[in-house]
């Protein structure tokens, strides 16, 4: 036997570990500020860069892609080398992966506060960054598969199956969901519209949770938990069954984010049915984790790292039982758009991803630095503060979500809404929002203590850049003694192909019919493209992140049609690139806001929401009243929208500016009637134009057309007396 000596690369693992710790603090502080803004609407100090709408995507991106992303790379780069008995395929690729990924995050941290966003959740970054993400991910894939190729271990351990599924699926999800046509260096329009965009987005969004936050972390659990506890994995068979079931079923569940929306019923039902089937495969992971600890619970008491791990796996079990429960249509009708969802995702983020990441960090630092953990006591403080923080975060959010959901639906015996004023339901939640911020602060305090502990651990030890190891070279010529899954585990290529097939089926069955079968999006002839001013207004709506708090999707419940108007139809969104249905109602739905208030009301409301709605928690937008509307890019925007399928006539770019000015002048007139003096070239004018157009086409079947605007509809519903 030819024994080879080689070295594991610890440097890149350390780099990812440090980045993980830093981004944890940054991402969570952004979340805390966003949480504070919900009960102190002036907390952004009237700075447009840190309103809730712009901060929320910064927070989610920083936590998911910066904190968990770096944590995932850290764990994979550490464990993959050891499980393959090989150094990473290529050091240069490792460092491109590290610096590329973190440069993307810095780009996100700059561009999101500037309002450069596609508005698609967890895919907000604009097209140049999207391309960079794809490239860096490919680098990661090459490095992953390259290492697997040159491994000295014949069989792939279960952790690696999960890494493979992650690498392949994230690449597919990211590329398909990010297809967009640029309109300038920092602006693009999704090639999908309305219902189709929603379906693709939530196929992506749901499976970003599945394949970015779940499968890699399950893989990491399968490595670090048995390593730290010194116990064998509970059941090899369970690993096999739950792995394949999980990756096959997960992909189908995306439409559960769109229950009771304008998405066709059959797709909603598939989403719900597969979500329910997902309970057992998810719990398979939790069981295999917790049952591995049989006989090692004494160690859990002593070892902080295992405490974090146990809570992480338990939180995973809770979140993956709750997820399917929230996918049951009747439960979803209450929970959707409320803080219940926020509670749910934070069980996953703070508990599962957060605690598992800290668990890995506490395990890795002493090993990378060849020393003991600086302080077990501080680690225990971190643990208890984190746990308490989670409780204070999650419980108020459940309370808040259920309270608001019930208030929205409550009718009087005479069939009137009990709480017709949306704001009344918001004011009930303010104490819960305060408590949530307390919970978040406790959690962050724990993280800071953790970072200090890790820093001191590093200081007292000596970093080992490379760990030397020995193993016999892999015999490539296999003998057919094995069969079944054990045989498959030695065939990395075949296993990868099968995993790819498993994840492609669900998406294909749901998405392809939505594009090829006309009946899924019935046409409504009165629905017309947006006017140039409305296009720019819509882009401002996207820039300000309005979609973070306002849905544009009225569900077919009487409690919603009484409050907002006719429920939303699939055909109304055919020119919406991207769709802006939203997923949370911190403020009311806006799909039928058009014509509901006079232009002047919107003007005053944007200047200071509390002028028109006392007690409102919406931030002020005074800059919209003063900033000049940027119209130079209008031709590029019209052209890009035409490219994605909006039927603007050929050469319309040339007339667009004139039409824009005409409509702006009408709005200025309307504002005058409402005692507001405004200039026609300000951003607010465009935003008002868009808001007044929203949801009105379906009512205006016979709207008069003027010659030079045709085929565009005549501006907004005028409320001028």
């Amino acid at each position: 036997m030819n024994i080879e000596t080689f070295k594991y690369d610890n440097r890149v693992v350390r780099a990812f570990a440090i980045a993980t710790s830093i981004w944890a603090v940054v991402g969570m502080l952004a979340g805390l500020l966003a949480a504070v803004e919900l009960f102190l609407p002036g907390a952004n100090l009237n700075l447009q860069y840190i309103t809730f709408g712009r901060l929320r995507p910064l927070h989610t991106n920083a936590v998911i892609f910066a904190f968990v992303g770096n944590g995932m790379f850290m764990g994979i780069y550490y464990s993959l080398q050891r499980l393959c008995k090989a150094r990473m395929f290529n050091d240069t690729l490792s460092w491109i992966n590290f610096w590329g990924w973190n440069a993307i995050i810095v780009a996100a941290a700059i561009s999101l506060p500037l309002g450069l966003t596609t508005s698609k959740e967890y895919a907000e970054l604009e097209w140049p960054i999207d391309i960079a993400i794809a490239l860096v991910w490919v680098v990661f894939c090459i490095n992953l598969f390259g290492t697997i190729w040159k491994r000295r271990e014949k069989h792939l351990y279960v952790a690696i199956w999960f890494y493979i599924a992650t690498a392949i699926t994230v690449a597919i999800l990211h590329i398909v969901n990010s297809l967009e046509v640029p309109a300038g260096a920092f602006k693009s329009y999704s090639i999908y519209a309305g219902v189709q965009d929603a379906l693709v987005q939530w196929w992506y969004g749901h499976n970003a949770v599945a394949f970015f936050l779940t499968t890699p972390y399950l893989g990491l659990m399968y490595y670090f938990l048995p390593k730290a506890s010194g116990r064998p994995v509970f059941s090899y068979r369970l690993s096999i069954i739950h792995f394949w079931a999980l990756i096959f079923i997960y992909i189908w569940a995306g439409p559960h984010h769109l229950l009771y929306t304008a998405l066709p019923d059959w797709a909603q039902s598939l989403g719900m049915a597969f979500s329910i089937m997902l309970v057992a495969p998810s719990w398979g992971g939790m069981l295999n984790g917790l049952l591995t600890l049989r006989g090692a619970w004494d160690k859990v008491r002593q070892e902080p790292m295992l405490k974090f791990m146990v809570v992480a796996v338990t939180a995973y079990g809770m979140a993956t039982l709750e997820g399917p429960m929230l996918s049951i249509k009747s439960v979803n009708s209450l929970s959707h758009y409320t803080d219940w969802t926020i509670a749910h995702v934070h069980t996953g983020a703070l508990g599962w991803n957060g605690f598992l990441t800290f668990s890995m960090l506490y395990w890795l630092f002493p090993r990378l630095y060849r020393t003991d953990l600086y302080s077990v006591k501080l680690a225990n403080w971190h643990f208890w503060l984190g746990l308490l923080g989670m409780m204070f975060y999650v419980v108020p959010m459940y309370w808040s979500g259920i309270t608001q959901g019930l208030m929205w639906k409550q009718f009087t015996p005479d069939g009137f809404l009990q709480y017709p004023n949306f704001l009344e339901t918001v004011l009930q939640l303010i104490p819960m929002y305060r408590l949530r911020a307390v919970g978040g602060s406790l959690y962050i305090l724990g993280v800071l203590i953790g970072c200090y502990n890790l820093y001191k651990t590093a200081r007292q030890g000596r970093f080992e850049p490379d760990t030397e190891a020995q193993a016999p070279a892999l015999e490539r010529s296999g003998h057919g003694a094995e069969s079944g899954h054990r045989w498959l585990e030695s065939k990395a290529g075949l296993l990868s192909v099968l995993a790819t097939v498993a994840v492609l089926i669900g998406g294909a069955v749901e998405i392809i019919p939505m594009f090829v079968i006309q009946g899924n999006v019935p046409t409504i002839s009165s629905v017309k493209p947006y006017s140039p001013l409305e296009v720019l207004g819509r882009d401002l709506y996207i820039r300000e992140g309005c979609v973070g708090c306002h849905s544009q999707m009225i569900r077919p419940f009487r409690s919603e049609t009484e409050r907002y108007g006719e429920y939303s139809k699939a055909g109304e969104f055919v020119y919406d690139h991207p769709f802006l249905w939203g997923s949370k109602r911190t403020g009311p739905d806006l799909h039928r806001i058009g014509g509901k208030y006079p232009d002047a009301w919107h003007y005053n409301h944007m200047d200071d929401p509390r002028l028109t709605s006392p007690g409102s928690i919406m931030p002020r937008y005074p800059w919209l009243l003063t900033q000049k509307l940027e119209t130079n890019s209008l031709p590029a925007r019209i052209a890009a929208l035409r490219k994605v399928g909006v039927p603007y006539p050929a050469g319309y770019e040339a007339r667009a500016q004139k039409d824009l000015e005409k409509q702006a002048a009408t709005i200025v007139q309307n504002l005058k009637a409402g005692m507001v003096k405004a200039e026609s070239n300000r951003e607010i004018i465009a935003l008002i134009a868009y808001l007044q157009r929203l949801g009105t086409d379906i009512k205006a079947g016979q709207a008069p057309k003027t010659a030079d605007l045709a085929p565009l509809p005549q501006t907004t519903v005028s409320l001028n007396p």
């Binding site: 050891r82 390593k227 064998p232 059941s235 090899y236 005479d414 009137f416 429920y567």
Partner: protein, 195 residues
């Protein structure tokens, strides 16, 4: 990894990866049943709604809910409208205060918080366009004046809210808010006025 105290677990598989071993435990029985029952439920759900078409889908559910709710509402509304001519504005401060709250939420966007008029007319002067009877005012609130942009509040506001807000509006009459909207019959319809 072998525990020195206990004998080797007979279920221990003979392979390992970086020192990690695996046991060959059976799938927990209850877990298998959980999986099977979930799959049966999911399949049953899809068949029930989309193959046999036995259950109502969203639109049908909504139509039913809407029918029942509207019937309740219409009954209450008709009962209220039958009594209009006999109603007098309430003097009860609690009722008036409730009306004021409703006014602030729904009427102020067009009539201004103090009733001085914005897009909608001034409610504080003596020039009342649609009649000065209390029942006339109630009817304006109930049915709106669609051609002038006044919305229909029937079905949005409850009868008691319509009554209280109309009572509140009666108290605005004769107040002198600053900078009120001019009377419609005294100014040309042009918007030049505000320049």
């Amino acid at each position: 990894m072998n525990d020195p105290i206990r004998p080797k677990d007979p279920l221990l598989l003979d392979h390992e990866a970086d020192g990690i071993q695996e046991l060959d435990n059976n799938l927990p029985r209850w877990w298998v049943w959980l999986f099977v029952l979930c799959v049966i439920y999911a399949a049953g759900y899809l068949v029930y709604y989309h193959v046999l078409n036995m259950g109502p889908l969203s639109a049908a559910e909504y139509a039913k809910e809407s029918r029942e709710g509207e019937a309740l509402k219409n009954a209450a509304q008709s009962k209220f409208e039958a009594t209009l001519s006999g109603l007098e504005p309430s003097k009860d401060p609690i009722v008036v205060a409730q009306g004021g709250k409703t006014f602030g939420t729904y009427c102020a966007p067009c009539h201004r918080a103090d009733g001085g008029g914005l897009v909608g007319p001034n409610l504080c002067d003596d020039y009342w366009i649609h009649g000065t009877n209390f029942s006339d005012n109630l009817k304006v609130v109930i049915n709106g004046v669609p051609e002038k942009g006044m919305l229909t509040w029937k079905g949005v506001l409850q009868p008691k809210e319509i009554y209280s807000v109309a009572s509140y509006i009666y108290t605005l009459r004769g107040t002198k808010p600053p900078n009120p909207k001019p009377r419609e019959d005294q100014v040309p319809a042009s918007t030049e006025t505000f320049e």
